[in-house]
């Protein structure tokens, strides 16, 4: 309640009303950008180039390039392509991973039969599937999506399975003793009990899909058909020697991942209202 903040609701007043976490984030971002700008201009400012980092384009140049790209249909087309691929791969991972994880959780037979195979395939990185995916799938698009699918699938399945097994036995027994049928216990007890783990698995899986989409596009993209996407956008920028655009591509992917995870968290929160503070 400083009189200053009241009489002059200017920039400083607004700054003071920000929560401390927001202020710290802003400080860290500004300091980082300033340091980066200085390093990028080091030959002119200090007479020598800071090793390695000195070759980076300056943030001002990157932002300038970005602003220019905002009106570029090709840039937004890349966003669109990557988003649809991530969406397709992620949704199919969710649709297959959740039921499989639940099945592992409730059926020992299923677990004994298929879990060893699952665990053997899991350590194979999604990127290592790229050559096989190209050979196996008829179109390049399907190969890319299948690799993205694998990125999220194992995490979602495993989280669902672990969550399902951790549903409190006392809770299940109590439902049984109230005369609930097996299917009712599955729908009203096991499923909601597993939901927090499914949401957590989906959030981690979503992060992995954005790690994988770029690599999948880099490797199988190009040559016209089925290319495009933010990954290929970066690769093209690299081939053209446009360093600013490489950074724009990197930052775009970071933003895309941030938005997708934020959206997923919001949606997950709506699905599990009992976890938020009442």
């Amino acid at each position: 309640m400083t009189p200053h903040a009241n009489t002059h609701p200017g920039a400083i007043g607004r700054w003071r009303t920000l929560p401390s976490a927001g202020r710290r984030a802003a400080v860290s971002l500004i300091v980082m950008l300033l340091a980066w700008e200085l390093i990028a201009h080091s030959p002119r400012l200090f007479g020598f180039e800071v090793p390695y980092l000195g070759v980076l384009p300056a943030p001002s140049a990157v932002i300038g390039e970005w602003v220019m790209l905002l009106g570029d249909a090709h840039y937004w087309g890349s966003w669109y392509l990557s988003f649809t691929r991530v969406f397709a791969g992620f949704i199919s991972a969710l649709l297959l991973g959740v039921p499989l994880g639940l099945w592992f959780a409730i059926s020992p037979t299923m677990r004994n039969l298929f879990f060893p195979v699952f665990e053997m395939l899991r350590p194979v990185p999604p990127i290592a599937w790229v050559p096989a995916a190209i050979i196996f799938w008829p179109t390049q698009e399907l190969s890319i999506i299948s690799v993205i699918f694998l990125g999220a699938f194992y995490t979602i399945t495993l989280n669902t399975y672990n969550g399902g097994r951790r549903v409190d036995l006392a809770i299940i027994q109590s439902a049984r003793s109230m005369g609930a049928s097996r299917s009712n216990i599955f729908r009203r007890i096991v499923l909601p009990g597993t939901l927090p783990s499914i949401v957590a698995g989906a959030a981690i899986g979503m992060g992995i899909t954005w790690e994988v989409v770029v690599a999948a596009e880099l490797i199988s993209g190009g040559n016209g058909g089925g290319g495009g996407g933010l990954g290929l956008f970066m690769w093209d920028a690299y081939l053209a020697g446009n360093h600013e655009q490489i950074l724009v591509g990197m930052l775009s992917i970071g933003l895309a991942g941030y938005f997708s995870s934020g959206l997923l968290r919001r949606f997950g929160g709506l699905l599990t209202p009992w976890l938020s503070r009442n």
Partner: protein
């Protein structure tokens, strides 16, 4: 408000004839070969319909195992368990268990939690909803009907479980140390609540505890259990009218007698857990305790 509930409960008072429970020549154990532990050996008793039977015994003696056998979660090695003449073959609606730890469903609002059993078996009507509302008001949970159990304190969660158990109208209540872990004040309040709710609609109940005062406050009949392998060592009738209070129990001659009897029976079992010199020390301490009660 209280009147309203009492008239509702009076309508089910006729159910006191349900829940006649017989435990016959029961044996149960865990493990095989050298690892084998006999938990229950030749255990026999009956629960009278409409009576609150309290089972008390040293901790780890097998009371919870017996509760699980009654609930149908476990199958006995030998012997039989019958409710109203029918064999217990698995979990069923005629028995309801309230556990040591909370078994509320965190993802259902409190009202839904109380109604779940009826909803799951498609028996929920306007009457059941009214009854839940009245019972929740009655135990001070009226404001929390549409909140999640996570918003309730430990004592409130226990009360909600009591409401849930009552609404399901089982023939037999099995309560396995339901007030364990509550602070002393909340525990006393819960005991009073429970005794009052039991009086309002008498149903056959088996209440398991390790606390002598709790047993004396609640019981129509006390079963003192032996240490493992468990069986009934004494059966004591508590023919003192409710409501009872801890303060009243100190003055009441009959209660003092019963307390000494239960303590003695329990002591001779608990002392088996001590060996050698520690047994002598425990025995001396017990003699001193008896002096203060008599």
């Amino acid at each position: 408000m209280t009147n309203h509930v009492e008239t509702q409960d009076a309508s089910v008072a006729g159910e006191a004839t349900r829940g006649f429970t017989e435990i016959l020549a029961l044996y149960h154990g865990f493990g095989r070969g050298a690892q084998r532990i006999e938990v229950i050996e030749n255990c026999e008793f009956k629960l009278k319909p409409g009576k609150l039977t309290v089972m008390i015994g040293p901790s780890g003696c097998g009371k919870s195992t017996l509760a699980k056998l009654l609930a149908g979660y476990l199958h006995p090695d030998e012997g039989s368990l019958l409710i109203d003449g029918r064999h217990i073959a698995g979990p069923g609606k005629d028995r309801l268990m309230v556990f040591q730890e909370s078994a509320l469903f965190p993802w259902m609002v409190n009202e839904e939690n109380a109604l779940y059993g009826l909803l799951a078996s498609g028996q929920v009507g306007a009457g059941a909803r009214q009854r839940v509302t009245a019972l929740m008001d009655r135990v001070g949970l009226g404001r929390f009907r549409h909140k999640y159990p996570g918003a309730l304190s430990g004592g409130m969660q226990r009360r909600l479980e009591m409401v849930r158990a009552l609404v399901n109208e089982p023939a037999l209540f099995i309560l396995d140390e339901p007030f364990r872990g509550l602070d002393a004040m909340t525990r006393t309040l819960m005991q009073e609540h429970f005794a009052q709710m039991f009086e309002e609609g008498r149903r056959t109940a088996l209440f398991i505890t390790t606390d002598i005062d709790e047993a004396l406050l609640l019981a129509d009949e006390i079963l003192v259990m032996s240490s493992r392998p468990m069986k009934v060592t004494r059966r004591i009738t508590v023919d003192v009218p409710r409501p009872r209070t801890v303060a009243g129990m100190i003055k009441d001659e009959r209660m003092k007698h019963i307390k000494v009897a239960v303590t003695k029976a329990l002591y001779s079992e608990a002392i088996k857990a001590f060996d050698g010199s520690s047994r002598a020390v425990a025995a001396a301490g017990f003699e001193k305790f008896l002096d203060t009660t008599q």
